[in-house]
């Protein structure tokens, strides 16, 4: 606890700060729909649903130092599960069935894909991710009779929870709860023995092997964790658009989560959260101010962030600017030296 023995200060202890910050932010997210327009609520909901897949990229990036372009596979799986079961071939729209089902399917698919994707690293891993995503995309695209091809599946009605049909606002709160739950779960996972050993793998592969870490198995599990996050978010994303199309499987879509994670900063646990909000917000602003320059703006921002602050991202920049204030809220909590 060496670095954290800041006793005798006015501030409450370490863990309480964090708890307070979480509660305050959650409370803001919970009451904000009552005060803002429907569109802003949708936007916040979008940000919330972007957080879990971005966390998936973040886990692979910050723990394994790999770039995970294949998140869209799992978003797509979740979305199409929702679209088939609650839309096209109506079976059920009960979230308590759809979410676990998507979780199970994502885990299964991630397990199988992980067997061969996670054996490679670096550029090869990234390209393999894109290749597999393309394969899924073309499968969905070509199975026109079932998936509707490029037209997708439209007019998916809102889901129900405990048998109660949800309105758009209800869906917002479900998204909030799911996303928050996943954030807390990720926090736990990032402080687990599992992730410490993953960091060992990215730190030095040979050393990791020589201390008996089952490299391939653990990498695969990390891939599964990432995929499961995206799979759950995929279901809710499908409902939030009331539409699913094959572009959910496009690798460009998966690349957005990489960009969001980089923008947020992969050195920080709050990075993916910040990244999701900044990315979606940025998209909103850019499309308003320079509708034609979306690619240039996002490209320059990501490139500049990588060159200047690397893994620190926006969170790191903000922390530098307002270091003292944020320290109190413990937003600077790093995944990289988490005490013990």
């Amino acid at each position: 606890m060496g670095a954290n023995t800041r006793t005798g200060r006015m501030m409450p202890s370490y863990i309480d700060d964090r708890l307070i910050a979480t509660i305050v932010l959650t409370a803001i997210a919970a009451v904000i729909p009552l005060f803002v327009s429907e569109y802003v609520r949708t936007l916040i909901q979008r940000c919330l649903l972007w957080i879990p897949p971005t966390f998936g990229v973040y886990i692979i990036y910050s723990l394994l130092r790999q770039v995970h372009f294949a998140q869209s596979i799992f978003i797509g799986l979740g979305s199409y599960i929702a679209a088939f079961l609650a839309g096209k071939y109506f079976v059920t729209s009960e979230l308590l069935i759809l979410l676990p089902l998507s979780l199970i399917v994502s885990i299964g698919v991630a397990y199988v894909l992980g067997i061969f994707i996670m054996r490679r690293t670096g550029f090869y891993f990234a390209i393999m991710g894109i290749a597999v995503t393309m394969a899924f995309w073309s499968l969905v695209y070509k199975m026109r009779q079932i998936t509707g091809g490029s037209d997708g599946i439209s007019d998916i009605k809102n889901p129900s929870l405990f048998g109660i049909q949800l309105g758009d606002q209800g869906l917002y709160y479900v998204s909030l709860v799911v996303s928050l739950g996943l954030i807390l779960l990720m926090r736990r996972i990032l402080h687990s023995p599992f992730s410490l050993q993953l960091r060992a793998i990215s730190g030095d592969l040979q050393k990791a092997e020589s201390i008996g870490i089952p490299v391939n198995g653990m990498r695969r599990l990390a891939f599964i964790v990432a995929g499961a996050n995206a799979g759950v978010a995929g279901v809710l994303l499908a409902f939030s658009y009331n539409y699913v199309g094959p572009t959910t499987f496009a690798w460009e879509f998966g690349a957005h989560f990489v960009q969001a994670a980089i923008i947020g900063g992969v050195n920080y646990f709050v990075g993916p959260i910040v990244g999701a909000f900044v990315f979606v917000g940025l998209e909103f602003l850019v499309s308003t101010w320079f509708p034609n320059l979306w690619e240039v703006v996002i490209g320059v921002i990501v490139a500049v962030i990588v060159v200047t602050v690397g893994e620190e991202g926006v969170t790191g920049i903000v922390k530098d600017l307002f270091g003292r204030t944020l320290k109190r809220a413990n937003l600077e909590e790093r995944t990289y030296s988490d005490g013990k």
């Binding site: 992730s195 040979q206 050393k207 008996g212 990289y336 030296s337």
Partner: protein, 255 residues
């Protein structure tokens, strides 16, 4: 420290590894018993590191067999062998630079306890592991830097951290690749002492690759000289270093 009454712990039989023309290991055989400490000397490129890597499984042999306590382990992956007790420290820097010293050692403790896939448990609640880690840090005199990032520490520290991490694996046999390369004269002895104390205290077998011949004499009473992938001499350091061919190999090439 040779204790030949003990049963054979690790046995290598006719290990061979050629890199094209280069003979890194040419039908090497070796047996080592519990508590036995061997030193391995030889010029650069004699195949010492390759030999250790063959034992740990980082390099796959072209042919030959490796047995641990009579059980064939030739085809096993490095991490499986590490679990069985064959643990190696590295010559060059192989540390997890972005971790704190505490985490670095703790990783190995967790791995030894087989807690790889423990995802939903907060690491701070692993009191047993944390206790072990603190104990190890004490033993290796690392407690005062336990919260520093490994990459910010000096070379000597990294060596000690590497060794401490290896001990966390509760090894049966320790393969030590040049523990003191690139370390100052004074630190050298300190590191060696720390390590040898632990090896003796746990009655481990060890193969130590070392360049400093004076150090070799202190370390163990049995040494092997390696040249072009073969063992050319074996015995007490004093005797071995007197032999002509050894002098030619070690000193002649040295200058």
């Amino acid at each position: 420290m040779g204790n030949n009454q003990q049963p054979v712990l690790l046995a290598a039989e006719k290990l061979r590894k050629f890199y094209g023309e280069v003979r890194a290991a040419n039908d090497i055989s070796l047996e080592i018993a519990q508590g036995q400490v061997l030193t391995l000397v030889g010029a650069n490129g004699a195949g010492k590191s390759t030999f250790l890597n063959l034992l740990t499984g980082l390099v796959k042999p072209d042919r030959g067999e490796i047995r641990l306590l009579g059980k064939r382990i030739t085809g096993l992956a490095p991490e499986q062998r590490a679990k069985m007790g064959i643990v190696k420290t590295f010559q060059l820097e192989h540390v997890f630079g972005d971790m704190t010293v505490f985490d670095h050692v703790r990783t190995a403790c967790l791995s030894a306890a087989g807690k790889h896939y423990s995802m939903f448990k907060d690491i701070s609640t692993e009191t047993e592991i944390n206790g072990q880690t603190e104990q190890l840090l004490e033993l290796f005199d690392l407690a005062r830097v336990s919260q520093s990032l490994v990459k910010n520490l000096g070379h000597g520290f990294k060596k000690v951290i590497d060794i401490a991490t290896s001990f966390a694996m509760k090894p049966k046999i320790l393969l030590v690749d040049e523990p003191t390369s690139g370390v100052g004269e004074e630190e050298k002895y300190h590191i060696m002492e720390l390590m040898m104390n632990q090896i003796r205290a746990n009655n481990l077998a060890a193969i130590i690759v070392e360049h400093d011949l004076n150090l070799v004499k202190d370390l163990s009473n049995e040494t092997i000289v390696m040249h072009e992938g073969e063992f050319i001499a074996r015995g007490a350091p004093g005797d071995v270093f007197g032999q002509d061919k050894v002098v030619e190999v070690l000193v002649g090439r040295g200058f």
